[in-house]
């Protein structure tokens, strides 16, 4: 008995019961299909989040003021004033793993121009901020050093603010926006950036020299946070370490003292989000995997029915010289063919599903090739595993009883 013959016998047997074969395969089709779809959708959502986050700069690092202990009392984050412009200077001078650094101070308020007004946030920043956060100018220019030093009343405006504050066909450059009672001359316009990974509008903002916002609007001497970019995404961790060391020196913290600031990197955020989506993917994949298992049990069930139903055929095959092994292989082949065929259809089905999903959710279309390979392997294993027992049962039939079975 060779394998070509076996394949032929198995296909003939399946063809004889087409409808039943399809029904049996349905379990595997749905199982594999959902595994593929889940993993692919998971992978593509991960990619789309990654893409959006890297729009914000994957090598970005930000420093927030942290807890501060004042005579045993923990202070809230918002009240702490631990970060200063001296820290910025120190980082600029000493840190080797970061390329750029910018302070940030911000406040919310109404932006007013003529009869229009719009609630937004003004960020007081350095010019390097645009590079760090991957903002680009559409029109105009950035602040000059002189403007920063002189607390100049100038600003760069995001698209959302422009849409809401200026009438159509008005060139915003050269116009004046009043923010918190202070008139700011618009010197630049930011390119549209859209929503970020968390759904926040990145165009709803005004940028101004940090000195202007810090002194003129907030009247504070500290800064609220620091933005920096690491040399590369890979060097993020080294950069974080460096920043921590420098800031601890700056703040004169002794060994054993807690940091009075927090350093976070975009890479960390991406990782965090990836971990969450990975978990979700795994969970969905596991649920889909269970349906694959159920599909396998379906195959086993139908193979048992098939063995019982074809007892006479088995007896006949044995009478004309089929060995137990031949009979076993025949039924095993049938089970494996059912599961593999189901697997192939399932893979196509799952791919189509994830294509539709990526289309509907506006995400990149990714086929998880690993999942495809794995599903194929799992199907073969399921076929052999669940086909084994029925096939053995067939092989162990007594030919005399089997051939006279009615």
């Amino acid at each position: 008995m060779n394998y070509i013959n076996l394949t032929k016998i198995a296909t003939t047997a399946l063809k004889r019961n087409k409808f039943r074969a399809i029904l049996t395969m349905l379990g595997i089709i749905i199982g594999v299909g959902s595994v593929i779809a889940m993993l692919s959708i998971g992978e593509s959502s991960k990619q789309s989040i990654r893409e959006e986050m890297s729009d914000m700069g994957t090598n970005m690092i930000f420093v927030m003021p942290g807890q501060q202990r004042r005579g045993g009392v923990m202070m809230g984050n918002s009240n702490t004033k631990t970060l200063t412009l001296n820290d910025i200077e120190a980082l600029r001078k000493e840190a080797k793993n970061i390329t750029e650094v910018s302070p940030q101070v911000s406040t919310s308020g109404q932006a007013v121009n003529g009869n229009n007004n719009w609630p937004t946030t003004i960020y007081g920043v350095d010019v390097s901020y645009l590079d760090i956060r991957k903002y680009e100018l559409e029109d105009g220019r950035v602040f000059t050093d002189k403007e920063i030093k002189s607390l100049a009343k100038v600003c760069i405006v995001g698209q959302t603010v422009i849409e809401n504050v200026f009438n159509e066909n008005v060139d915003p450059i050269g116009q004046t926006i009043r923010f918190g009672g202070i008139p700011l001359k618009v010197i630049g316009v930011l390119k549209e950036k859209g929503e970020n990974g968390m759904g926040m509008d990145q165009d709803d903002m005004i940028l101004a020299p940090y000195t202007s916002v810090q002194r003129r609007m907030l009247a504070i001497t500290h800064i609220q946070s620091i933005y920096a970019s690491a040399v590369s995404e890979e060097q993020s961790d080294a950069a974080i370490g460096e920043i921590e060391t420098i800031l601890r020196q700056q703040h004169k913290l002794k060994e054993g003292d807690e940091d009075d600031f927090q350093v976070r990197s975009q890479a960390e955020m991406v990782e965090m989000v990836s971990t969450v989506t990975d978990m979700l993917t795994l969970l969905l994949g596991a649920v889909a995997g269970i349906s694959l298992l159920v599909g396998g049990i379906g195959i086993m069930n139908i193979m048992f029915v098939s063995v019982t139903e074809r007892t006479k055929e088995i007896g006949l095959r044995m009478s004309v010289g089929g060995r137990g092994f031949d009979i076993m292989m025949q039924f095993l082949f049938e089970a494996v063919m059912l599961s593999i065929l189901g697997g192939i259809i399932g893979i196509l089905f799952g791919t189509a599903l994830s294509y539709l999903a990526s289309f509907a959710l506006n995400m990149p279309f990714v086929v998880d090739t690993q999942a495809v390979g794995l599903s194929f392997l799992v199907c073969s294993v399921i076929g052999i595993f669940f086909g084994w027992y029925p096939a053995r049962k067939a092989a162990n039939l007594d030919p005399i009883d089997a051939v006279r079975h009615e």
Binding site: M1, F325, V403
Partner: protein, 250 residues
């Protein structure tokens, strides 16, 4: 004297049912020679089915010796017995036992599937030849449910011939057929026997047994009577003598 195809001496078979032991065969000596056409007869429970199972290498005797074409089957394991069935034996059953939804040709090919020496092309040719021998050259692509009972049994006979066995074992091969069709099947058997095939035919119908050369009657697990058939039926003549059945004409 011609060669002995089947040689059985002091064959016994016991079945254990609970604590009881049933002696199905109680010492059988028998020889079937090349070219023989023997009927094994007997009432139910006489041991003829057990005998056929052992002759067909489907079952092993509890005691005694059985040589098939010079091979002692007592020393063989299950797989070797399967090989023996595949190479040396042809089976015909009362209920034809054709695979449903499978063409006549594929049904006949079946035994050759289990012979790894036979290639696809040869398998097809041999199956075609066997079907021609039983007069079904024009029915090769028919499914069993498109064939009459007699035709189905012919397919089964072709299947038993396809591996060129040393002996054909038929179990009540005419049991499901009407008189005319039975005679037609017997005519086929007689022709095969005339061409040199050795046939052992189990039946309980005395008039079917009269088509054969020799009758062996079993009773209570032993051979009760062994006789040569003197006034043997000729199937061709009998069919001609049958009245024409009008409701059976095509």
């Amino acid at each position: 004297m011609s060669k002995a195809i089947i040689k059985v001496s002091d064959l016994r078979k016991d079945y254990h049912v609970g604590e009881m032991t049933v002696h199905a065969l109680r010492g059988v000596d028998m020889e079937i020679h090349e070219g023989d056409f023997a009927a094994i007869m007997g009432a139910s429970g006489s041991g003829k089915s057990t005998m056929l199972n052992i002759l067909g290498c489907l079952d092993k005797p509890s005691y005694g010796e059985y040589q098939l074409d010079g091979v002692n089957m007592g020393t063989m394991n299950k797989n070797q017995l399967a090989g023996l069935r595949n190479n040396k034996l042809g089976f015909i059953f009362q209920s034809y036992n054709l695979l449903p939804r499978t063409t006549a040709l594929e049904n006949v090919e079946l035994p050759l599937f289990y012979n790894s020496k036979v290639r696809t092309k040869e398998r097809k040719e041999r199956a075609k030849h066997a079907l021609e021998q039983v007069g079904l050259a024009d029915r090769m692509d028919h499914m069993p449910n498109q064939l009459s009972g007699g035709q189905q049994q012919r397919v089964a006979i072709a299947r038993s011939l396809v591996n060129d066995p040393v002996v054909i074992l038929a179990d009540e091969a005419t049991g499901n057929l009407d008189t005319r069709t039975s005679y037609e099947i017997m005519e086929l058997f007689q022709r095969l026997n005339d061409n040199g095939k050795t046939i052992v035919f189990v039946t309980h119908e005395p008039d079917i047994a009269r088509f054969m050369k020799r009758n062996i009657v079993f009773r209570d697990g032993r051979i009760q009577k062994e006789s040569l058939v003197t006034d043997r039926f000729n199937a061709t003549q009998l069919i001609e003598a049958l009245p024409v059945e009008e409701d059976y004409e095509s």
